[in-house]
């Protein structure tokens, strides 16, 4: 047997490139593909970032100041200038509370007792009530937490450095890595993880089953193109486009949400490539077990998207899951990528801290490719 000559390899390469070009033509002709590739990721990021935000920003707060002294004025100012709250009104009586809540804009009412300032100075104790709108429990919890924090801060200011005598042990909670507990820190890595597996698995499985469904796969297989060239040719454009997607999402998160990559950008991009590769092999695997596009879409959406959202740690912490879900979660590749990307983006750690997850993702990739090759051979027999 002669080895392939240089001329033959060049020839083979040209044949392959022509085939790759065709895939790009398919993508550019189909606006739906373009929307899925670029519209959805951008929309998701902005949607999660702005709409599903769990931060408090300009929450409405009303005041029922029965004391109207220097101290209540200062505390009111402090609350309103914190950036978290906007004053929606001054109430005259308890009866107004219900009325202002029903208008909807106000999330909390702060009530200063009679003679608040005088009591605080003479007895060292002033009474403040915070009433939150419990019809939105999450918001109510956040609002009261933020409010309590501002008030204790105010307390500390009042006492001043000279108040050494009144040493009270006060728990101080600080959030590392994400001091503002900004939800973007959670959503950006989550969205990248979700979008990449969705796009790669969905698009590749659909594009390959489309050839099967339309009968063109048969013609390609009878042609001199090797099966591996066919698969690579179909997958390569999606690899490139997904990688561009990652970059777009990172840029969006940096410029729109002010969330830069803390760790090594090169490492993050490298890990993203691995994750894209893993997702593409999963897409190929899905295409080997489905004979219609509908089937491929169903498996990709129900099989990938739901578990990824619910069980990968994207929204709900794995630590809080019932044991069985924890187990299921451990066979979901996105779970590991979320760990990797959070580590690199937010904590700024290096490969030393994510090598285990990287290895697991590599393992998944090899497994999916091996299974695909096996399925493909069975089909060709």
């Amino acid at each position: 047997m002669h080895g392939p000559t240089a001329g033959y390899i060049l020839h083979d390469m040209k044949r392959f490139l022509g085939f790759v070009k065709k895939e790009f033509l398919h993508i550019s002709r189909d606006y739906r593909t373009l929307i899925i590739l670029f519209g959805i990721p951008a929309a998701q990021i902005l949607l999660f970032g702005y709409v599903v935000s769990t931060d408090i920003k300009n929450a409405g707060v009303a005041f029922l100041d029965q004391s109207k002294d220097e101290i209540t004025r200062r505390l009111t100012d402090k609350i309103c200038s914190s950036g978290f709250f906007t004053k929606t009104g001054d109430l005259a009586s308890q009866a107004d509370i219900d009325r202002i809540f029903k208008k909807g804009r106000t999330k909390a009412v702060v009530i200063f007792e009679n003679n608040f300032g005088r009591n605080l100075i003479s007895r060292g104790k002033g009474e403040i009530s915070i009433i939150a709108d419990g019809s939105e429990p999450n918001v109510a919890t956040l609002v009261t937490n933020y409010m309590t924090a501002i008030i204790s801060d105010f307390n500390r200011d009042m006492a001043g450095p000279s108040a050494a005598t009144a040493l009270i042990v006060r728990p101080e909670v600080r959030m590392f890595y994400n001091p503002g507990l900004k939800s973007h820190y959670m959503f950006v890595p989550g969205v990248i993880t979700l979008i990449m597996i969705l796009i790669c698995a969905l698009m590749t499985s659909v594009t390959i089953t489309r050839e099967k469904e339309f009968g063109t796969m048969e013609v390609l297989l009878v042609s001199p193109l090797k099966p591996v060239q066919i698969i690579l040719g179909k997958v390569m454009p999606y690899f490139l486009l997904s990688f561009i997607d990652v970059i777009v999402i990172l840029l969006l998160s940096w410029f729109v949400f002010d969330l830069p990559v803390k760790g090594s950008l090169a490492l993050l991009l490298g890990e993203s490539m691995l994750y894209i590769l893993m997702s593409l092999s999963l897409g190929i695997l899905i295409s080997t077990v489905s004979s219609t596009m509908q089937q491929a879409i169903f498996i990709s959406l129900v099989g990938m998207m739901l578990p990824t959202i619910l069980l990968s740690g994207f929204i709900f912490p794995i630590e809080n899951m019932a044991e069985i879900y924890g187990w299921i979660s451990s066979i979901l590749p996105p779970r590991y990528f979320i760990v990797i990307i959070k580590n690199i983006m937010i904590k700024g750690t290096g490969l030393l801290y994510v090598w285990k997850e990287t290895l697991i993702l590599t393992g998944f990739t090899v497994l999916f490719i091996a299974l695909s090759v096996r399925n493909f051979k069975i089909r060709l027999q």
């Binding site: 044949r15 022509g18 085939f19 063109t216 048969e218 013609v219 390609l220 297989l221 009878v222």
Partner: protein
């Protein structure tokens, strides 16, 4: 006659588990011939074609196609044959020209040659005005003709047509067969499966398969004589359906 043999099938067997799809086939096809491959659905036609075109390996026996063994050199076979399958095989979202260029490239033709052939082909089919239209905008008959022209674009020694005229109107089928004749006259061997019995009459020789075996192989005229029938259809019914039932697939 021997040097004109382009397909030589010897004791070809293909089994899927316990099921024997192709049972000991033994036949030859000659250069420039239009060879009809007939049989009811499930008779083993598609399996046989897949082996002859290098898609699937035989369980035992062998087929020599254009001098290459289907068992040992399927990749070589793929280089020298053309193929057009049952389902329509061009890309709907690409233009006529893009489809031609794509297949030309896949078969390793040089850009200059592809350009020349494209012009020639478009001229012959009177297709110039459609050159840059998407395939999806063409009527089925035109697509089918184009698919056939693309299948022989690279001048293969043999072209396999797997039920090429399914769903096409009689006029277009007629024109399609004129293209097949023209191709055969250029020395390209045409290996065609069909279940239109009138088309079988157009073939130089036909073989009829039943349950994985070839039960008859001869020219249409000889077969009619041998089975005392007025048409190939009658021959087919007598052979493939001894109980007289017509299959409705």
């Amino acid at each position: 006659m021997k040097e004109n043999v382009v397909i030589s099938v010897r004791n070809l067997v293909k089994k899927f588990g316990d099921f024997t799809a192709v049972d000991n086939l033994d036949f030859e096809v000659y250069k420039g011939e239009i060879f009809g491959f007939l049989g009811a659905n499930g008779a083993g036609k598609t399996t046989a074609i897949r082996i002859l075109s290098g898609l699937s390996a035989p369980t035992s026996g062998d087929a020599i196609v254009s001098g290459f063994s289907a068992r040992r050199q399927p990749e070589k076979i793929k280089q020298v044959i053309g193929y057009m399958c049952q389902r329509f095989s061009l890309y709907e979202d690409l233009t006529v020209r893009e489809n031609i260029t794509l297949y030309g490239g896949i078969y390793g033709m040089r850009r200059q040659l592809i350009k020349g052939r494209t012009a020639e082909l478009l001229g012959k089919l009177n297709f110039e005005k459609y050159a840059d239209s998407l395939i999806s905008s063409l009527p089925l008959g035109l697509k089918q003709k184009l698919a056939f022209s693309v299948a022989v674009l690279h001048d293969p020694g043999i072209v396999f047509l797997d039920e090429p005229t399914g769903g096409v109107d009689p006029v277009t089928r007629r024109q399609f067969w004129e293209m097949i004749y023209e191709t055969a006259s250029r020395g390209i061997t045409v290996f065609v499966t069909t279940h239109y019995m009138d088309e079988a009459e157009y073939c130089d020789r036909i073989s009829i398969m039943n349950e994985g075996r070839i039960v008859a192989l001869d020219t249409p005229a000889e077969l009619r004589k041998k089975y005392n029938a007025s048409s190939v259809e009658e021959v087919f019914i007598k052979i493939a359906r001894p109980d007289g039932r017509l299959h409705t697939a």
